[in-house]
């Protein structure tokens, strides 16, 4: 085992590769996070959330969770998670709800990019996209069922939806 080789590999692939990855993420992350703040300021978020109501009902989530979900579906889990963390800090979402968004998004995120990458190699894009969506939904519903069953006291209280409003 050559120590010099390993050190070189670590520095080049590990550190430099990591920095490149972070730079690529920042190219999307910074503009999107700024846009989101504007969207919040000008109350565009409520309109997007209203459109996503059917999906939110399917997932048993309050309308407030629609925006982190949409961000994760479109731009990837890093952004989705960023918004969940932000919403959790500001107390917009209850724990049950952001856990469910996290579970849904860990299975299904960045739908466009991920689907295109594999379609380019020859996989069927409609099936890949549809199957991932359906699986994520089933798993989220199952998780919601389990969480609600074992935390019955909190489910008697009004859900986070009625307690907090954005803006």
């Amino acid at each position: 085992m050559n120590v010099k080789d390993l050190a070189q590999e670590l520095l080049y692939e590990g550190v430099w590769g990591g920095i490149q990855g972070i730079f690529q993420i920042s190219l999307i992350l910074i503009p999107v996070l700024i846009l989101i703040e504007f969207a919040r300021y000008f109350r565009v978020i409520e309109k997007i959330s209203a459109r996503m109501k059917p999906l939110m009902n399917l997932l048993t989530l309050p309308p407030e969770a629609a925006f982190p979900l949409a961000a994760g579906l479109g731009f990837g889990i890093v952004l989705g998670a960023a918004l969940i963390i932000d919403y959790a800090r500001e107390g917009i979402l209850a724990k049950r709800d952001f856990m469910l968004v996290g579970i849904f998004l860990s299975i299904n995120h960045s739908m466009v990019e991920d689907t295109l990458v594999f379609a380019a190699v020859g996989a069927n894009p409609l099936i890949t996209m549809g199957a991932r969506f359906v699986v994520a939904m089933l798993v989220t519903r199952l998780a919601a069922y389990i969480i609600d069953r074992y935390t019955q006291r909190s489910s008697v209280l009004p859900s986070s939806a009625s307690k907090h409003r954005i803006g």
Partner: protein, 147 residues
Amino acid sequence: MEQLVGPLQKGLSKSASLLWLLTRVIIPVSCLVTLMEYYGVMEVIARLFSPLMALAGLPGEAAVALTLGFLVNYYAAVGAIVGISLSVAELTTLAVMLGISHELPVETVICSHTGLKIPFTVALRISTALVVGMVFNLFIITAGGLC
């Protein structure tokens, strides 16, 4: 003017704190993955996965792509797939499995900041991927039998 500066500032400061979080996650993980590649840990994991591949109707070689996808990212998996000849059905199965479960070291650590424990997310994603692979295989076998 205020309505332009406020959101801009807020967006920038949120980006900065998030990028710092990502730096703390991605660089150590990327070094870890490099070490695993250097010491051949990937091959060992791929060998563990390869018997499971049959359940999803995939050739054993697909285990390498799956392992790379699980540990590194989606693109690494695609790189490994190019070397194996797979039918459209097999590619689609693999794509769904990898779509459900990929880049676990980075993504699960980031997700853990939302309150989901790392072992939970890892177990959930890998087992979901394997179950979905098996269900797909059943569908394909049934569809193939009907034709």
